[in-house]
Amino acid sequence: MAEVLIAAVALAVGAGAGYLLRGRRDTARPGTAAVPPPEVQSQDLARFAGAVTPVWSAQIDSSRTQMETAVGQLTETFAGIVENLDTVLSSTGVLGEGPGGVFDRSRERLGEVVGTLDSALTGKREALAELHSLLSLNEELREMSGEVTRIASQTNLLALNAAIEAQRIGEAGAAFGVVASEVRQLADRSQNTSVRMVEKVDKVAQAIAGVLATQEAGAETEGTAVAHAHGEVQAVLDDLMSMLATMRQSSQGLEQAAVGIRGEISDSLVNLQFQDRVNQMLEHLRDNIGRFPDVAAAAAAGAAPLDAQVLLDELAARYTMAEEHDAHQSGSAAKVNESEITFF
């Protein structure tokens, strides 16, 4: 675009020069129409310059402005795309998490839930073991009560024998007979108490056995439920892992594509720097063209000779880029120099 624009300007300037040359050739050609004297030619040239250069300058400015606006919008759009890609790239990082990512956090949390169930089940089994132990102790109590009954029975028999002996002795054994009678009563009471103890122990044993049966059945159900929960959690984790792997793969593909697009856009943006250089070149050219009428007018007024070098020197003085100097000297398009860095 820039080259076309500059070529158009050069063509227009060439046309102007052609006009002047034609005039000079006409002056030299014999037999043609009368050629105006040089001062008239200079005035014609001044008028010509005054008429055409504002239009040339306006066209250059218009092109320059259009290019600046278009390239500005283009860079803004590209910058927006790059920014969006950066946002996308930073958000895909969630899926790209490694061992400490979503999956591991989910597994840890679900593991905690199942662990709590496991702990509850273990506590219950320990309580059941305690109940079994209580049942054993209860059986020991029952045996001990039986022993007490037997001892009471033997004591009763012993007291009966003592009472018989006391009666056989007569008056002298009367007191001993009273003691034997009291001992028999104590033995009877011990036996009765022992029987009641056995009854109570049996009732306690029945109650413990009932609780044990209920709790053991519940523990079995809960054990099955916890084992099922373990299986379900693992299945969910496997599904999640599989889904994450698929998403991660897809995300990585998108990420690579986004990185590639970002790089290409950045490269394209770098190339759009031409606008800044071309803009400056056109500004220099426009300003120099703008000076043409003044130089031509000065020549027409006889204040200064019509010297192209004046304009060319002024143009060269405005150059900022090496390629402008190169093009000026060589008369052809110059290559853009590589960037250089100088540290002070």
Binding site: T75, E76, V270, Q280, N337, E340, F344
Partner: protein
Amino acid sequence: MAKTILIVDDSASVRQVVSIALKGAGYEVITANDGKDALGKMTGQRIHLIISDVNMPNMDGITFVAEAKKLPAYKFVPIIMLTTESQDEKKKQAQAAGAKAWVTKPFQPEQMLSAVAKLVAP
């Protein structure tokens, strides 16, 4: 915390290109259209490095560098001149004003980042 860089250039496309390169490398970016605009935006800002064009309307880059160096907060802030200007005379003027580096356009982002990294870490 990311370092902040002020980009001063009258060309919107150059501002965008430099911004994208710097943001991609983790820098924060502030932009200004010319030297005058930049001086206005520098007040109250913590800026770690300035990248400035030379030929700009309102206030050119070399005048801007000289003015920025007069401000106590910016006396030691490095300034890179990014320009199409090829004249050694302008380069010397920039150096005398206090610029630390001179980069010619068109630049490659890697070159700019390398120059920036030499003067300030991300």
